[in-house]
């Protein structure tokens, strides 16, 4: 075994660190004398836990810098990421103990809520980092995305040439299906793989724009034409055309899936990072406000 994922970095060293931090926090929390007042952020234990939490937030945020400090010899980025995950998870408990599970409609709970959003979006990110690379790799079967696109363009061309040799209705349908195939798009299209492909049903006198979701309608359209083929040669062309269209369908599915999986792999960061910025601001306000009422 040579490769090791970030959770198992150095035999999950930072899991033990995180457990240590949690154990220490719990010990501090339990040392509060609940006879005089319930555990809260205002006791000395509360201040200790709060300071620890704030330091953790600051350190967790430093990953953004360390990741881009390419000459740094302070550990490896994998080590930092591993520690980021475990200590970030521990923060959830440290902060909860700090506030003594006292919530209200105020800046303090707001900061806590932001922190939870950041941490849970991180959990989601961790899930996609662990799960999606495998799915992406097996979906592409060893090829790069650019190779899938190359194959698609090649197929488009072959399909078009072949369709030209078929009846006008088929040629229009296939040609328009290629032209009006959509891949990707906005955020939601990428995340949910929405397919807004269309084609023109050129049967006889009327021509109508129809949905071509997953390319199945155009395949059905060409297949429906087959029993009515006029010559042997046309039938042969239609058969081959169906093969091309099915292959196109497969390639398009792979590309869409690749886009979808990669979108999920990336989307959480667009949430995690701005929320972190918001958290840092809220945290500063929380601290300032705390000292104003001291």
């Amino acid at each position: 075994m040579i490769h090791r994922g970030l959770l198992r970095y150095q035999g999950a060293r930072y899991l033990w660190w995180a457990l240590g931090v949690i154990a220490a926090s719990v010990a501090v929390y339990l040392s509060q004398d609940s006879a005089t007042q319930p555990p809260n952020g205002g006791t000395w234990q509360g201040y200790v836990l709060g300071t620890l939490g704030a330091l953790l937030v600051a350190w967790l945020g430093l990953l953004a810098i360390r990741k881009r400090s390419y000459r740094s010899t302070a550990g490896t980025v994998q080590g930092w990421t591993s520690a980021h995950v475990y200590l970030g998870s521990a923060l959830l408990i440290v902060a909860t103990l700090h506030c003594g599970v006292q919530f209200g409609w105020n800046i303090h709970t707001f900061a806590y809520a932001l922190m939870c959003i950041v941490i849970f979006s991180g959990f989601f990110g961790l899930y996609s980092y662990v799960r999606h690379p495998q799915l992406i790799a097996s979906n592409r079967e060893g090829g790069a995305r650019s190779e899938l696109f190359a194959e698609l363009f090649e197929l488009d061309q072959q399909t078009r040439v072949l369709a030209q040799r078929c009846a006008a209705g088929v040629a229009i349908a296939v040609g328009s299906s290629i032209e009006r195939t959509t891949i990707g798009g906005g955020v939601s299209s990428q995340l949910f793989g929405n397919d807004r492909s269309f084609f023109i049903r050129g049967d006889g006198a009327t021509s109508a724009v129809a949905r071509n979701t997953d390319q199945q309608p155009v395949i059905d359209f060409v297949a429906a034409r087959l029993p009515r083929a006029e010559k042997g040669a046309e039938a042969a062309n239609l058969q081959q055309l169906i093969v091309f269209l099915c292959r196109r369908q497969t390639v398009l599915r792979r590309i869409r899936r690749d886009i979808r999986l990669r979108a999920w792999l990336k989307i959480w960061l667009y949430f995690h990072i701005p929320m972190t910025a918001a958290l840092v601001i809220a945290l500063v306000l929380h601290i300032v406000v705390t000292f104003m009422y001291w």
Binding site: M1, R68, R71, T73, T81, Y129, H132, P133, I136, L265
Partner: protein
């Protein structure tokens, strides 16, 4: 940009008529005929012109003959604005014509001006077809049938050769070209391209952008082309929209000028598979390769030491060949750099005039010998060195001199006053040479007892002992010490196999060593059978000793060594087959070999062997039937040891028989284990196809961990001047193992093969890197089978990380796609860029250290098996 040079033609030449075969008084006759107006020829002619002027001669005593229509043909063909370098920096230029590094145009005009200012007697489009006669009376027959008579001939024709012509009537018409400078020059013409090689394809593709192009291929396919070109041309031919078409199995029978106005200029008769066919076109571009100059050189009577394509004719110290009166200079003589060639051009004319001047590189020798404990002149020292080393004794003086200039001289002194004195002397010299950039080599001073190299270091040099002693200490567990003395050599193992050093070398009392770089040594071995034989032989002796009889003295091994055979295999060649009865074992000297077993009709790879390992030893120890087929994965050299020799070697009581037998047992189990797990075998196959059979350090990405953040690529660019030498997404993948396009640091680096300034080096830790002396020729890029070398301009400086983070200035970390180089970078020209495995960057390879998920790792050959094992789970 071409200058017309006023040629001073001798009066007797003007009166000449007809085509005389013998030298008659009317024929133009000279003291020196210089063939080839490249840097060497120009410089030689300039010196001759200068001498004529000084002597007040009316008519030139020399002639410069050039087959092409302008000077410096090779450089004329460079792309516009290409930067021409002036390496090696520490060598002074000695020529009557100026030369400095600069863009192609400036260099060409420098030489053009030189020719003009000195009124050099040059004749262009005067290809020399034949040379007959002896010293004092050579007759040179030119392409147009004219003869020129000369007392001495200087060959400065380079290595490129003249383009092969069509060989039919009309081959010399104006619109029949043999090169293409700028494809954009032509528009809406009908052009025939003749040839099926890379240059024909590249020209055809470029021209088809705005012309109708027909490519004429004599064969049925484009089998000689590179993969990328092959794919591109086939795609273009089948694409109905492209303006490129192909005639297969077609050649040209004849070309004539069209007289009808309004029709295309040329009328061409084609020989096709269906018979003759007549077509019209505007232009023919024939790319049929070049006629190597060797044939022409041999026709003069000049001998090459062997049949190798890179062999160099033997020359005297004065560059004179075995044909008295014929001198060879420049790249044909083995000096590929412009400055060397120009210096030789100057010197050779002086030599011919009987002036035995010291070559321009003479001071370099003096610096190298400066720290030696003798008071002798450099020339005397050189002579003494050569007599002390038996292997080099037969070498010609010029070749030996070149070896010493390219080598390092190491001298060992007793620690204490002696050493301090020597060191002080060298520090003084170094101060004197401070202004020279780069500074020339000087004697390296070491202490007696100092380690010259350690086991595990990647050595790229070869050592010869001139005087004193050296101790070789084999690595644990044996720790055998061997004393070497005057005339002996060491370090051949790494030289030949590309493996790291396996022993420790320690400087002994009074030792003086010549440390020769790998490239120089390989060049020498290619041109000198004796040196090759000597090194081959000692390699075999030491391999036998290491594997079989570590305590046997060399003398005893000598007879056995003379009976074993050395074989060479190309990639894919079979060494032995499964089921055969084996009577010998093999030591793999260089390259890689795979062992495979047949199972259910498929060949399963069960083992991968690397230089230094034994193959087929089971046949001599236990099982006589070969259980595997052994085939070379890359070009491989093996030493075959027959049963008789093996028995003789292992008969000694202190032979290494037991460990050998243990190895056999272990490998039998390993191979069987691989056989019963076919998936590991196909993984192994994949890795071998990706070049891991010759890799020493390779980047491997686990696709199931990679999130595609490209932080590895960014790290590469950020630590290497804004240019990444890693393409993560490109490259092959098999079962989640992805080998990106990044350097593998091959055992025998392909890129090193043909680097004119010797800019590609291997560090002691094994990293193959390119130093600052790169001239941007692109040879390494062409030679690398894994496409990991890029030719790029220096990237401009970017704003720092914080200004990007806070103010969004610049494009952030990583290489900026399609960056615009600064004028200074553009002037310097494109340089080769490749992975150096972050040699000199603290903490090791940045790509690995910045991977957040642990997907990217760099591994060496020892870990390939682990990689396969991992997949197995």
């Amino acid at each position: 940009m071409q200058r017309t040079v006023v040629a001073t033609i001798p009066v007797d030449y003007l009166t000449k008529k007809g085509r005389g075969r013998l030298a008659t008084p009317q024929m133009p006759s000279f003291k020196i005929a210089i063939i080839g107006a490249g840097p060497a020829g120009i410089s030689a002619a300039a010196r001759a012109a200068e001498r004529d002027r000084a002597a007040g001669l009316q008519h030139p005593s020399y002639v410069l003959l050039e087959g092409f229509s302008a000077h410096a043909k090779t450089i004329q063909r460079y792309q516009k604005g290409k930067h021409v370098m002036a390496e090696p920096g520490f060598l002074d230029l000695r020529s009557d014509v100026d030369f400095q590094a600069g863009p192609r145009e400036r260099v060409l005009s420098m030489w053009g001006d030189g020719l003009e200012d000195l009124s050099v007697n040059v004749r262009f489009t005067s290809e020399v077809r034949q040379i007959r006669g002896n010293r004092g009376a050579f007759t040179l027959q030119l392409g147009n049938g004219e003869d020129v008579v000369a007392e001495h001939v200087v060959l400065a024709i380079g290595l490129e050769g003249n383009p092969r012509k069509l060989g039919v009537a009309g081959e010399d018409l104006e619109r029949v070209q043999y090169q293409l400078d700028d494809p954009r020059e032509f528009r809406d013409e009908t052009i025939l391209i003749v040839g099926a090689g890379d240059s024909a394809i590249e020209n055809a593709l470029a021209l088809a952008e705005q012309n109708d192009v027909w490519i004429l291929n004599r064969g049925k396919e484009f089998s000689r082309a590179k993969d990328a070109n092959l794919n591109a041309i086939v795609a273009a031919i089948t694409d109905p929209r492209s303006r490129l078409n192909c005639h297969y199995e077609t050649s040209i029978r004849g070309v004539t000028l069209n007289s009808t106005p309004g029709s295309p200029a040329l009328s061409v008769v084609l020989q096709t598979a269906m018979g003759e066919q007549s077509v019209q076109c505007d232009r023919i571009i024939a790319r049929l390769g070049a006629i190597p100059p060797r044939k022409f050189v041999e026709s003069i009577g000049i001998k090459f030491p062997n049949e190798r394509s890179d062999a160099i004719p033997e020359l005297t110290r004065h560059y004179e060949s075995n044909v008295p009166g014929v001198y060879v200079i420049g790249s044909l003589a083995g000096y590929p750099l412009i400055k060397q060639a120009m210096n030789q051009g100057h010197d050779v004319v002086e030599f011919i005039h009987g002036n035995d001047i010291k070559p321009a590189d003479h001071p370099l020798l003096e610096y190298q010998f400066h720290g030696l404990p003798f008071e002798r002149s450099a020339d005397e020292m050189l002579e003494r060195f050569q007599t002390l080393i038996p292997m080099f004794r037969e070498l010609n003086a010029l070749a030996f001199r070149e070896i010493i200039i390219e080598s390092d001289i190491i001298a060992a002194y007793q620690p204490g006053a002696e050493y301090d004195d020597a060191q002080r002397k060298m520090v003084l010299l170094e101060k004197c040479l401070q202004q020279r950039k780069p500074s020339p080599r000087i004697t390296r001073i070491v202490r007696e007892g100092e380690v010259i190299y350690e086991p595990g270091e990647f050595g790229t040099s070869f050592f010869t002992i001139v005087d004193g002693e050296v101790t070789l200490e084999s690595a644990a567990p044996q720790n055998i010490r061997t004393q070497l003395g005057r005339g002996e050599f060491f370090g051949e193992m790494s030289l030949l196999s590309g493996r790291p050093r396996i022993d420790r070398a320690i400087a002994g009392p009074g030792c003086i060593l010549v440390e020769t770089p790998r490239r120089t040594m390989l060049k020498l071995m290619n041109s000198n059978e004796e040196v090759r034989g000597g090194i081959d032989w000692i390699f075999i002796v030491r391999e036998l000793q290491r594997h079989f009889a570590p305590f046997a003295p060399l003398k005893e091994l000598r007879t056995v060594a003379s009976r074993v055979k050395l074989h060479q295999f190309k990639a894919g060649d079979v060494i032995f087959r499964e089921g055969e009865t084996g009577e010998s074992l093999y030591v793999l000297r260089s390259g890689g070999v795979t062992l495979s077993r047949k199972q259910g009709g498929a060949n399963l790879v069960v083992s991968q062997l690397r230089a230094g390992q034994l193959i087929g030893e089971m046949s001599l120890m236990g099982d006589p039937v070969r259980r595997e087929t052994a085939a070379a994965t890359v070009a491989a050299e093996v030493i075959e040891i027959k049963r008789r020799e093996f028995v003789e070697l292992t008969r000694r009581t202190d032979a290494r028989l037991e460990p050998l037998q243990q190895d056999v047992s272990r490998r039998a189990v390993d191979n069987a284990r691989m056989q019963v797990r076919p998936e590991t075998g196909s993984m192994m196959n994949f890795l071998m196809n990706e070049g891991l059979g010759e890799a020493t350090n390779v980047l491997v990405i686990d696709e199931s961990l990679c999130v595609g953040c490209d932080n590895c690529e960014k790290a590469c660019a950020e630590t290497h001047g804004g240019v990444s030498s890693l393409d993560r997404e490109a490259g092959a993948t098999y079962a989640n193992v992805h080998i990106p396009v990044a350097c593998r640091h091959c055992e025998q680096p392909h890129c090193m093969k043909d680097c004119p300034p010797n800019a590609i080096r291997r560090s002691e830790n094994g990293e193959v890197y390119i130093n600052d002396s790169c001239i941007g020729c692109g040879n390494c890029q062409a030679n690398c089978p894994y496409d990991v070398i890029r030719m790029v301009y220096e990237a401009p400086k970017k704003p720092g990380l914080w200004s990007w983070l806070l103010f969004a200035t610049g494009g952030g970390p990583g290489e900026q796609v399609g960056y615009a180089p600064e004028p200074a970078a553009k002037a310097k020209g494109k340089k080769a860029v490749k992975c150096d495995a972050c040699a000199g960057v603290d903490g090791g390879p940045a790509c690995v250290r910045t991977c957040p998920t642990g997907a990217a790792i760099r591994i060496g050959p020892d870990q390939f098996v682990d990689l396969v094992e991992e997949r197995k789970r």
